[in-house]
């Protein structure tokens, strides 16, 4: 067994925490785990890509090769587009549709494609997955910083590689107790997003 997860997002979205939760759960489950992050100046709004790889056997490259990821979580649509080629043909993507424009796009130096354009481009690649507005769900729960937890919940609804209760329990051990209630709700809302119980 081998499982490759990539999380593409922007600095400050809690990408690394989400990847660490999955890595730790995989470790607890007895898998061999390798991970890394590709980041520019993450705290300064750069692009952040987390790689989490685990399996029964030895894992060599810390980076997920192109076309190998089983799941791609896109915390931001442009970042998902940037790294969509990492996903394997049978893999699943979950892409948060809430855009974070680039500074260059803000300055009109670059064009930031519309979410519809991004969705259309990804659809032409013959890959399957979900477009959800995790940011909106997080905001409705009262805190945009819950976006990563919503996405983590959504992840457990598309992959049964690690049990959802194990993931949420691990997450709670890694955050301050005052966030436990919100995080648990955000996680459940994320699961429901995929299961279709909550419209986005």
């Amino acid at each position: 067994m081998k499982f490759d997860l990539v999380i593409a997002g922007v600095g400050g979205q809690g990408n690394i925490l989400a990847s660490q939760v999955v890595a730790k759960c995989a470790m607890d489950a007895g898998y061999n785990v390798v991970n890394t992050e590709t980041k520019g100046a993450a705290q300064r709004g750069g692009s952040v890509l987390s790689h989490v790889r685990f399996g029964d056997g030895e894992i060599f490259s810390p980076l997920v090769p192109v076309g190998q990821a089983d799941v791609l979580l896109g915390f931001e649509p442009l970042e998902a587009l940037r790294y969509i080629n990492l996903l394997n043909r049978d893999g699943k993507f979950i892409i948060n549709t809430a855009a974070v424009p680039t500074i260059l796009a803000n300055m009109k130096v670059d064009e930031y494609p519309s979410t519809e354009q991004i969705m259309a481009t990804i659809k032409t690649k013959g890959l399957s997955g979900y477009f959800v507005n995790a940011t909106k769900v997080a905001k409705e729960l009262g805190n945009v910083l819950l976006t990563n937890v919503v996405m983590l919940g959504a992840f457990t609804a598309v992959s049964d590689i690690l049990p959802p209760d194990v993931i949420v329990t691990k997450l709670l051990t890694m955050v301050d107790a005052k966030f436990h209630q919100d995080d648990s709700r955000a996680f459940e809302f994320g699961r429901n997003l995929i299961r279709g119980d909550v419209k986005s």
Binding site: A23, V34, G40, S47, F60, S61, R82, M107
Partner: protein, 604 residues
């Protein structure tokens, strides 16, 4: 022994602590930075941030000469700063185990260049090196390096790449083995005084030649050590085309082999010098080998040389032309090369990727550098001056939208370059923009040189009290070193003592900053402007900030949508929505600098 998940840098620090390292010194640089901080957390280990890599290496070497295991930590271009010392310590050798961590950044993901320090440390200084292929190996190699360094009396270097330093993996750790050695310094001038001294005992030879011979003779010992090293091995399987994976190149090769789906003849190499016997065992009978290494064709050329010496006819392919000569390897790149080589095809030309709007680095919302960059841009916009740049967060002032600094080379270059432009006869004002950590790193001597040579420049020092770019390490201008409180050395006081005229401003106040820079420009000699304000991101967490936070918003009735605030200022919190500027409240840190930018007075 236990299995722990750790980052490469944690594994290196852990291994050094287990090996009984006593003194660790470094200068921050991605991807090696965390090692020094982590070493400082182990009981009994003295760790410090030196002002630059050369001094870190000197401190560590002196500790080794005092019979204590030591380690110097730096990134690749930091090793350049230490190269002068490197080219002497190789000839003297050392006493207690001394390990040099020289971390490379293939692809230049977080660097000014993608230099391969194997050339500097091994090809040039003839010192032994380990090139780890995994986090576990980085750990094992660090421990082995201390033992072998002591055994051979040579500095041993570990050359991890970004994908090792910043990768996490399972590591089998061991027990702490404190060395408990007495700190004795034995004077041995024949070894530790590098000078053109006549050596009576060797028939009047000069010492540099004698020590050179000593180092050359060491190579035989090293080659035999590497022959038995557990870090090199063969994975034999029938075939005419073999593949050599060096360091992380081996990890990518094994990944490619998994995807390829059939076993390949593989030689894994992680040491310099090479285990020549193993290499010959591998290549005999092969028609072709492809060498995967980061970044330059170092091993490839050594293998070509070996083939020549042993009259072996073999096609040796790699970074000297078959593979891309620049940039980082990847499993996909290696897979493509493996399949092309097996089919006797050239490496295919890479497809041009489609550009997706980049997320360029910029200053954080609330960063004091933005105010300084903006003010300096206003000044040179009027007087036609040129700004030479330096390394640090402010270097993003060269990108859109500031596009201020005209040059960036290496640590400390801004000051001598500004001086050179002026001495070449350039008739408009010249400014050197440098951060405080960089000023202490390699700016002091440049400033002294410019003053001594009657310079006519304005040096602007962005004094934010931390090395922010690498994650807020302290420097001599900071109130601490690692966890120790210190009395900061104020850069302005240093400059004044050298004879510069010194001016002060708070860069959060744009008008004041413009006025102070103009005043400095009008003065004679070398002028130094200290733009003093704490790094918001670092000190803001402790509630220490150098401005009075306020709520900043756009008055839509006044905003005419000209976009000046977006086009010239580039704060991530400001964007144009429709034809009005908008300040995102969740991003804005209330520094209020943008208020000065809007000519209409719409930002309040």
């Amino acid at each position: 022994m236990q299995n722990e998940f750790m980052l490469g840098n944690e594994a290196i620090a852990r291994a050094a602590a287990e090996a009984g390292v006593k003194v660790v010194a470094g200068y921050p640089g991605t991807p090696a930075t965390e090692i020094v901080d982590l070493c400082g957390g182990y009981p009994g280990v003295y760790a410090e941030w030196a002002t630059n890599e050369k001094h870190a290496f000197e401190v560590a070497t002196a500790a080794s000469l005092t019979n204590q295991r030591a380690m110097a930590v730096m990134k690749h271009n930091g090793t350049n700063a230490a190269a002068d010392f490197l080219m002497h310590v190789n000839f003297t050798g050392i006493r207690a185990g001394l390990v040099l961590i020289t971390a490379d950044d293939p692809g230049g993901l977080s660097s000014q260049c993608e230099e391969d320090t194997r050339i500097l440390v091994h090809s040039y200084a003839h010192l032994p090196m380990f090139d780890p292929s995994s986090v576990q190996e980085a750990y094992a190699m660090t421990k082995a390096a201390f033992e072998l360094s002591e055994q051979t009396e040579l500095v041993f270097a570990l050359r991890p790449v970004m994908r090792i330093n910043h990768a996490g993996g399972m590591v089998q750790t061991g027990e702490m083995a404190p060395q408990n050695r007495s700190a004795e310094f034995i004077i041995d001038r024949k070894r530790f005084v590098m000078s053109a001294v006549v050596e009576k005992e060797s028939g009047g030879e000069l010492r540099p030649k004698m020590r050179h011979r000593w180092l050359n003779n060491k190579q035989t010992e090293l080659k035999s050590l590497m022959e038995d090293s557990p870090f090199n091995w063969l994975e034999m399987t029938p075939g005419e085309t073999g593949f050599i994976g060096c360091g992380i190149g081996y990890a990518f090769l094994k990944e490619a082999e998994c995807i390829h789906g059939a076993k390949l003849p593989i030689l894994k190499l992680s040491t310099l010098p090479l285990p020549e016997g193993k290499v010959i065992d591998f290549i005999r009978g092969l028609k072709k080998v492809v060498v995967f290494e980061e970044v330059e064709p170092v091993v490839e050329k050594l293998i070509k040389q070996l083939c020549f010496e042993h009259k072996i006819v073999l096609e040796v392919l790699g970074r000297s032309g078959y593979l891309p000569q620049e940039g980082e390897l990847s499993a996909n790149l290696v897979l493509t090369a493996v399949e092309a080589a097996l089919a006797d095809q050239p490496y295919p030309a890479p497809e041009q990727g489609r550009y997706v709007s980049a997320r360029t680095r910029t200053q954080c919302p609330g960063c004091s550098h933005r105010g300084l960059l903006y003010a300096l841009k206003e000044v040179v916009g009027k007087n036609g001056g040129v700004v030479t740049g330096d390394i640090g967060c402010h270097d993003a002032g060269t990108f859109e939208p500031m596009k201020l600094q005209a040059t960036i080379y290496c640590m400390g270059s801004s000051i001598p370059m500004a001086h050179g432009i002026k001495k070449a006869g350039f008739d408009k004002p010249v400014y050197a923009l440098i951060g405080d950590s960089t000023f202490f790193h390699n700016g002091l001597t440049g400033l002294a040189s410019a003053i001594y040579n009657g310079g006519d420049i304005t040096v602007v020092i962005a004094y934010n009290s931390t090395t922010a770019m690498t994650g807020f390490q302290p420097h001599p201008g900071s109130p601490n070193n690692l966890n120790q409180p210190m009395t900061p050395i104020e850069p302005g006081a240093v400059a004044a003592a050298m004879g510069a005229r010194v001016f002060y401003c708070n860069p959060y106040n744009v008008e004041e900053t413009i006025q102070v820079i103009n005043e400095a420009t009008a003065a004679k000699g070398v002028r130094v402007v200290i733009a003093q304000a704490l790094c918001y991101l670092n000190f803001g967490r402790e509630g220490k900030i150098s401005y009075t936070p306020r709520t900043v918003a756009v008055d839509e009735a006044v905003c005419n949508g000209c976009g000046l605030c977006v086009r010239t200022f580039g704060c991530p919190a400001i964007s144009l929505i429709g034809n009005k500027a908008f300040i995102e409240p969740s991003s804005c840190n209330g520094c209020g600098v943008c208020v000065s930018v809007c000519k209409k007075g719409a930002i309040k």
